[in-house]
């Protein structure tokens, strides 16, 4: 029987999550702790500062980051669709949904990088604790998005060669990763803009 039909059969039979899903889930748990501590660091330093951001540093923009985050979070929908389609063996649908998600996420990433450089022109991490915490937190988040983009691109490439159990698992894992990153994005952006609220 062909790899694709076998993959679908496996998906039908299985009641628990596959190994790969557990692997990425535990990895994300570790990443969650990393971001939790990163946020804790941000607030620990903030609690000590009488002015946050310090004088001479502009308050963070609010509207644009929030809108962008909304875009990123909404990309969870096509990602979920792709995963569902792949489990049902509908490779075309999976590819299209994944491509849509990739497009949205890439736009988000591009604009965020633009904002990042824009901020750097205004104030630097070397200026003090605020800048250091701000850029480290936001930078860490962008890195995770970049990794997600690579995963998407790679999966699209592989799906062109049809479905296998391995690729379906890969897609399920990537989907989980994106839902996780999107959830974190909310926490990160709220912290990022909090001084202006």
């Amino acid at each position: 029987m062909s790899a694709a039909t076998e993959a679908v059969a496996v998906e039908r039979r299985r009641v628990a999550h596959p190994n790969g899903w557990w692997g990425i889930a535990i990895f994300c748990a570790s990443e969650a702790m990393l971001f939790g501590l990163l946020l804790a660091t941000y607030y620990y330093l903030r609690f000590r500062a009488t002015q946050w951001p310090p004088p001479g540093v502009p308050e963070p923009k609010v509207a644009l980051p929030l809108i962008l985050t909304a875009v990123l979070v909404s990309s969870s929908v096509p990602v979920a669709l792709a995963a569902r389609a792949a489990r049902a063996g509908r490779v075309r649908v999976a590819q299209v949904a994944l491509a849509v998600a990739l497009a949205a996420q890439a736009t988000y990433f591009g604009l965020q990088i633009h904002l990042f450089l824009d901020d750097l022109a205004k104030f630097t991490p070397q200026q003090g604790a605020y800048g250091s915490a701000y850029y480290t937190l936001v930078g860490a988040h962008h890195t995770h998005v970049a990794v997600g983009l690579l995963l998407d691109a790679w999966l699209l490439l592989r799906l062109a060669g049809g479905l296998t159990t391995y690729r379906v698992n890969g897609l399920l894992a990537t989907a989980f990763y994106w839902h996780f990153v999107n959830a974190l994005a909310v926490l990160v952006v709220l912290t990022q803009v909090s001084p202006s609220l």
């Binding site: 903030r46 609690f47 000590r48 002015q51 946050w52």
Partner: protein, 128 residues
Amino acid sequence: MIAARAPRRIELLQWFGLFGGAAAWTLQHAALFAVAVARCNSGSAQWGIDATAWKLGLTIGAAVVAAGAELAAGVTWMRTRGAAESEAPPRGRLHFFSLCALVGNVLFLGAILLDGVGSLYWHPCGQA
């Protein structure tokens, strides 16, 4: 082969029993630390946080949840009484974890109360 399914309610009781106390203590412990830091640092001190109220609320809330978890564990244990710990799931596993939870929640309840008493006993920012 699919394992026999236990009624949903007792499953929930078992898992709440197992994790309830742990979750309550984790939240209270972390929050107490956060409140202490926020209360005593130059920046956040201006926010006028009422440390005592927070500590009291957190402690009582957490204690209630942990007690509830202990209760849930107790119920699970009664419902599966007589089962061997290594018996086939779900019965054996329910019994096994109810025993674990009965012990765990006692510890967490103790930790929650000591946390509360200790942090309320001392002046919020007096240096050690």
